[in-house]
Symmetry: C2
Subunit: 543 residues, 2 copies
Amino acid sequence: MDRDQRRATPAIADEQDEIDDAVKENAEFQGALKRRGITNLSTIVCGGSSAGYFGTAEEQGRRLLLITCQDVRGSLEAAGRTIEGLTALWDVNEKKVLRVRDTGVVPVPQTDQYYDVASVGVLRQMAPLSVQQPMGPDFRLDGQSVSWQKWNFHFRIDRRVGLIISNVGYQDGERLRSILYEGSLSEMFSPYMDPSEWWSESTFLDLGEHSDAFSSSLEPGEDCPENAVYFDQIYADGKATPNLKPRAACLFEQPAGYMAWRHDGAEGAIESRKMRELVLRTIAKANNYDFVSDWIFQQNGTIRVRVGATGFDLVKAVKSRTAAEDADGQDGMYGRFIAENTVGVNHDHFFSFRLDFDVDGTANSFVRDKLHVKRLPPDRLRKSLWVAEPETVKTEEQAKVQMSMKEPEIWRVVNPNVKSPLGYPVGYSVMGEGNAMSLMVPEDYPQKRAGFTDYQVWVTPYRENERYAAGDYPTQSQGGDGLPQWTKANRPIEDTDIVLWYTVGFHHVPQAEDWPVMPILWHEFDLVPVNFFAHNPALDLPK
Amino acid sequence: MDRDQRRATPAIADEQDEIDDAVKENAEFQGALKRRGITNLSTIVCGGSSAGYFGTAEEQGRRLLLITCQDVRGSLEAAGRTIEGLTALWDVNEKKVLRVRDTGVVPVPQTDQYYDVASVGVLRQMAPLSVQQPMGPDFRLDGQSVSWQKWNFHFRIDRRVGLIISNVGYQDGERLRSILYEGSLSEMFSPYMDPSEWWSESTFLDLGEHSDAFSSSLEPGEDCPENAVYFDQIYADGKATPNLKPRAACLFEQPAGYMAWRHDGAEGAIESRKMRELVLRTIAKANNYDFVSDWIFQQNGTIRVRVGATGFDLVKAVKSRTAAEDADGQDGMYGRFIAENTVGVNHDHFFSFRLDFDVDGTANSFVRDKLHVKRLPPDRLRKSLWVAEPETVKTEEQAKVQMSMKEPEIWRVVNPNVKSPLGYPVGYSVMGEGNAMSLMVPEDYPQKRAGFTDYQVWVTPYRENERYAAGDYPTQSQGGDGLPQWTKANRPIEDTDIVLWYTVGFHHVPQAEDWPVMPILWHEFDLVPVNFFAHNPALDLPK
């Protein structure tokens, strides 16, 4: 690589510290603030976010951040008090303001964004409800190695991608069988859908652009239930000084709230077994958003992976007070009013998960069971049905999948060398549920930089240095880094150590209910055993 | 309607009672059993299932069932012991066997299908885990009217569609605001994907074809947790005799297992509020399958509706013992071996829900927020974004939706006459997650009879007699009944009392883990407030 490594370094927290002072000392910026009637700078907070890369001459060889400010006066949350239309372009290495942009004065919204107990006032009453484990938890810990109900795994908290699960195995009779070598988030992509300055450049690759430790400390009893156990995180800051983040992860059992399996039998005999789950939870704070990440181990051999988005929408200050007063519809065209003079801007969230499967060992293959329509002969009463045609994928190019309800398929990672008692290769399936694809045009730089969102599924041969879906340094990636680049070689992926990359996403049109703090919105997928076990692995659950 | 009402009546339970004796007395059928070495008929159990309608002369004016038999000897579950290739066509009204079909002898599989505690033997150990409510539940009951945490609703258990929720309202400050007049399942469709006799005709419209009370009694502590309250069902059998089904529904609170909302604020102050839910559960027994139906009321104003499929796959007896011995692949072509000599046949499940919204009154409209790609001018750095363009739908034809990730949209039922404080019509959104569409060709009779699966969403003006998505009597429907027929009139649906029909489905390729009883598989959708509340309705949750 002939990359300029200095340019390619992600923005680190220490580099933010200099911004606030520098921009406030800039005469042009001060002038723009004065045009807004802001002369007391003590309540003004400024920070930089990735400017992305759009192929301009100015960007070449530079590390740039876009500075925006809020007037936090009278609000718990700075983000509701945005100073709209005013940005400064900051050269991180030169430590100077390159340019101030002022697209016009919009008053700072004066709405409240309070949601703490004291501000809300009267709270609703609830009779106590709690999960009790009088004999203690069922899991055993050896450091951060966990064993619970036939599951075995290790976890660690990475400074960049957060929780990493590793060495996931299942005790199947006498055998401890491997399933996943590693699993974690690999990148996120959050593009905003407003054409104005700053907003159109807000196309964050959250994990790779800002090399902060994203972990948020977990609130006992609120973020995790009464029976949870907590784990601290030790991480290095930008100067390599060790830091402690208390309670960065929690682990707890919970009733699933439903049965593992059930049948009302022929003789009227009902057999039903309630299920419990083990939840490993971390929360990433990505500025305005809080992303709750759960890895849930179930007694039926399934691992549920889910991400919950809460926190609050990024908001834009607008001149109209409400949609009713937005006569030409311009203020609310790219989002919705969620408070007075405040528009929650439309955006997407995409989460790329890196799933390094080791199904009964490292020699794995990727199988796509494609459901094809088959027409039956004209003399038959029934005219059509579907058949599932398994296709063992040979190379990376054939492994790129765009989900489609019209051409449905089931994805399995199998070990072609280990057969089930009934003659099938043992495997695990990735079962996605609701999902979204990026709607931006392919030639758009943000889309090229987040090229991993072109497909929901990619499969690559394992390489130690291929960990991040948008590449190692997406800060000023010129596009195509990560999965698009690696898979250009179209490497063989059959009967070898493979990594499956699954991206789950959603489109978000904000609404009044998101204010002043957003109800959590989950998206998930399951890793489900398919002919991995000889039969239902939860048969032996006690009544 | 000039329909033959006698023909159009669904099959009732009493009509099954005659079948077993009649077919065993049939000489041709006895001969076919003898060819299979079966002479002792005491362990043979026979029953009829809907034969569907395929446009033949034989079907005209008749009510027909297809009879199949199992040899239950030595198994808990008859369904695993199918006598393959032997069916009889039964005229329900004439009470006679019209025809015996024998497509060739396949031995009855000799696998076990035991899953009761005694048979499984050694059960795994678990430390106790329970949900405790020392002060009792938080809900109040008045008969089957429920109030809980600002929610108010009534429920009843219908003989045909099961649970019906009605008069759903939310106490928003001083106002009790209506949301849903009624909500329930309206029909199910379960077509199997094997071309052989009987299997290709197995295209069940479960709710309308068999007019039995599907309710299964709930097992305390297993089907519902320790803190559940139970409700009996009284229903009429085919002779109008009242029957009691004990514990046909349960109601309980549970911890959601996560927070309603959460933010790690600017000053490092974390605010997080754990959430609980109210679950109303029924279980329908549809022969081999158990369908768990949950209506879940959350403290954030969302109603989650979900269906869980458990029980066991319909299985086909085959000559090959395993896939490895299935040399030409014929036995396993239309399903998978899930036990020796036993193939779980591929199939679909579609669940049509009837959602009669009354958002702040009956005058409602259906809005599709279509996410369109918008190109930006060439001189802009950013080239594209998406905008959400709300389209208020005028008539039934425009309201038919096929979900697509490439053309995503958000569906809202709004009251155009009631505006939110920010100027938007108040509304509720139907948010589907994973879903499937039927892959059968349109000219296939089963597809025509289940025409409601052509679209995931339909909207109709409320009519008292339009309750079942595939029509009142789908037993021998000739296709097009229900939603396709009603919507031909293309009636106006704007600013009036409307019903939204949402169908959720999935394709099921069976696997070894489904044997001998299948891990529950959930599919769900949410009814989510969109500008219905002035702000996050769960702000007032206590810490």
